[in-house]
Amino acid sequence: MLTYTLRRLLVAIPTLLLISLVIFLLVDLAPGSPASEIPLTVPAEVRMKMVEAMGINEPVHIRYLLWLKQFFWTEPLYAIDAAFGTSYADGAPRIISYSSKVPVMDYIGERLPQTLTVIGTAYLIAILIALPIGIYSAYRQYSWFDQVGTFVSMVGYSVPTFFTGLLAIIIFTTWLGWFPSIYNTSLQVVDWATFKQQVRQMFLPVAVLALFNAAELSRYTRSAMLENLSQDYARTARAKGLSEGTVVLKHVLRNSMIPVITVITLGLPAIFAGAIVTEQVFKINGIGAALIGAIHVNDLPVVQTIAFITAILIVLFNLVADILYGILDPRIRYE
């Protein structure tokens, strides 16, 4: 197991490096040199400093290394400084947003909580909805529940969130007025009233995202359950005289959860991408909205950083999924 985990970890590092290279080059090689992307409003002296920070005059590989250094060395130092009041960073150049002139990490740090709250809740709810539905519809395959469930999940999976989102806004916010139309990012949950407020403003985006993800997850759960329900061990367990509940919930479910958990883990970063749309539709100023905004104003450092952070998350969750799989399914540990 240790070898397996170690191996996965070791593989993740070159993957990350390669991804960082791809993202760096993609933005770097785009028409127009990075130097020309610095707004001309930036005075010459500051410009020089930024150029220095980016090492623009250096060849590509040096620039890339400098960027990596900023990302993996300087920024963590600043984070440590901020956390413990130290001063390791010592004024080293940070990744600065072109448009608002704040360090990109600070900007992202402001935006990330909004995204995580909405997405995290949505995903959690999606899992809570999807598992029972998937299990029950597999258990009662071809029952009306299964038929309806399959159809609904197919619809939920097929209808894009920006459409359901817009419909939800028109119906529930405009016509019925049940929910606020503007997402308040500075709301602090301190008491029952603010909690209710938070729930109200999160309801629609969370519902839309959760339904979409639940549709996908329940399909996976259902097919995983189906596969295991017809296995010999399930039959044996029944033959042994175990109760249906024990057979389904203990034996079959445990084995079915292996692929499902992997899918859940792997799906997490993917819904970050979905969040871009949701945030746009529901006007949540999260990281997705920041990315769109940055793309619109050609704020390359922000674009690069957000893209790379998302990539790190994906690699991380892939790793977690792999390791989880290794723990849950002893078969794949064998070399």
């Binding site: 170690l6 191996r7 070399e335």
Partner: protein
């Protein structure tokens, strides 16, 4: 004395193992570890052994479906192991194979006519009609109704599928066919049909077989000589009757003791030898004789030195230290039995 059609010389087939964090090459699975034998034209050589002993690998390496690690395989005058790709392709019609699992060996997305006709597509430039004619001919020969030509494999029974596989192997008039457990996946009732078909065809076309099987009674029925394999090596290679009457190698002895004896008198007199322990991993065979861990007659030398395959009696080859002091007569290659001699195509 005819020249052997197939000569295998010290054939080795090792599969590398990679382990650890860095996937280093740490060892080999020695599936076939120095196998030598020869087969005369028209002869059937049986290759028996427990599952996992490497017999199928021998068959596949022989036809170079695997790239052998070392050794020479001369079939009809050419060393198959060292042939360049294009020459190998040209060589293929001479040597064919019938596979174990008739279900798996037929492409489920091709019709019978296309399956049987594929070798023709690859090696002839005949017009379509001629190819089809040949396909029908082959179907007749293996006893398949011509009507089935446009059906898919899943529409057939196991026996019928194996006939398809045989027809395909016959398509290019091969001299040598490796039958890789052709009956293992079939019902007992059908096994005999297929074996009889193989025998008929051998008679008709003068084919040479390497008949791989773990079914010793079936081998006894079809083979002229039998090679017994254990853990990647040949333990004993003897003419059929001699082997079945008096196995020399302790492993052959144990193996044969398990065969159902039709004669109840003899059956009673025979002692079943039960081997203890498991077959060692081919990745990590014993230092000495491969069989030393389970051999009832094991002695010290067996554990340190590998015995070579030596002719200990006329036509009988054994790899066992028990027979070290016995020197065989000056006989050359073993005599082939007579009834297969006719019809050898040159």
């Amino acid at each position: 004395m005819p020249e052997p059609l197939v000569t295998v010389d010290d054939l080795k087939m090792h599969f590398p193992i990679y382990t650890g964090v860095f996937r280093r090459h740490t060892g080999d699975v020695k599936a076939v570890d120095g196998v030598s034998f020869s087969i005369l034209p028209g002869e059937t050589l049986g290759l028996v052994g427990e599952s996992g002993c490497g017999k199928s690998t021998v068959g596949r390496a022989l036809l170079r479906l695997y790239e052998p690690t070392a050794g020479r395989v001369v079939i009809d005058g050419d060393d198959v192991v060292s042939l360049p790709p294009e020459a190998l392709r040209k060589k293929r019609p001479t040597m064919q194979m019938v596979f174990q699992d008739p279900q798996a060996s037929l492409n489920p997305r091709m019709t019978l006519a296309r399956i049987i006709g594929e070798p023709l597509d690859e090696h002839t430039d005949w017009p379509k009609a001629k190819k089809l004619e040949r396909v029908y001919e082959l179907m007749d020969q293996v006893g398949l109704n011509r009507r089935f030509a446009n059906r898919y494999p899943h529409e057939f029974s196991g026996g019928q599928r194996q006939r398809i596989g045989i027809a395909r192997a016959l398509a290019l008039n091969p001299k040598f066919i490796v039958c890789d457990e052709p009956i293992a996946a079939l019902d007992v009732s059908i096994q005999a049909q297929v074996v009889n078909l193989l025998e008929d065809l051998q008679e008709k076309f003068g084919l040479t077989y390497l008949f791989i099987s773990h079914d010793l009674s079936m081998v006894r029925h079809i083979a002229d000589r039998v090679a017994v394999m254990y853990l990647g090596k040949i333990a004993e290679l003897s003419p059929r009757d001699a082997l079945y009457a008096r196995p020399l190698h302790p492993y052959a002895e144990a193996l044969l003791s398990a065969v159902n004896e039709p004669d109840p008198v003899r059956a009673q007199s025979r002692k079943r030898i039960i081997l203890k322990g498991d077959v060692p991993s081919p990745a990590n065979p014993p230092i000495g004789c491969n069989f030393c861990t389970r051999c009832p007659k094991v002695f010290d030398r067996c554990r340190v030195e590998k015995p070579a395959l030596r002719e200990v009696e006329p036509d009988r080859f054994v790899a066992c230290h028990l027979f070290d002091n016995i020197v065989a007569g000056p006989t050359g290659a073993p005599e082939a039995s007579e009834h297969n001699q006719q019809g050898v195509t040159q």
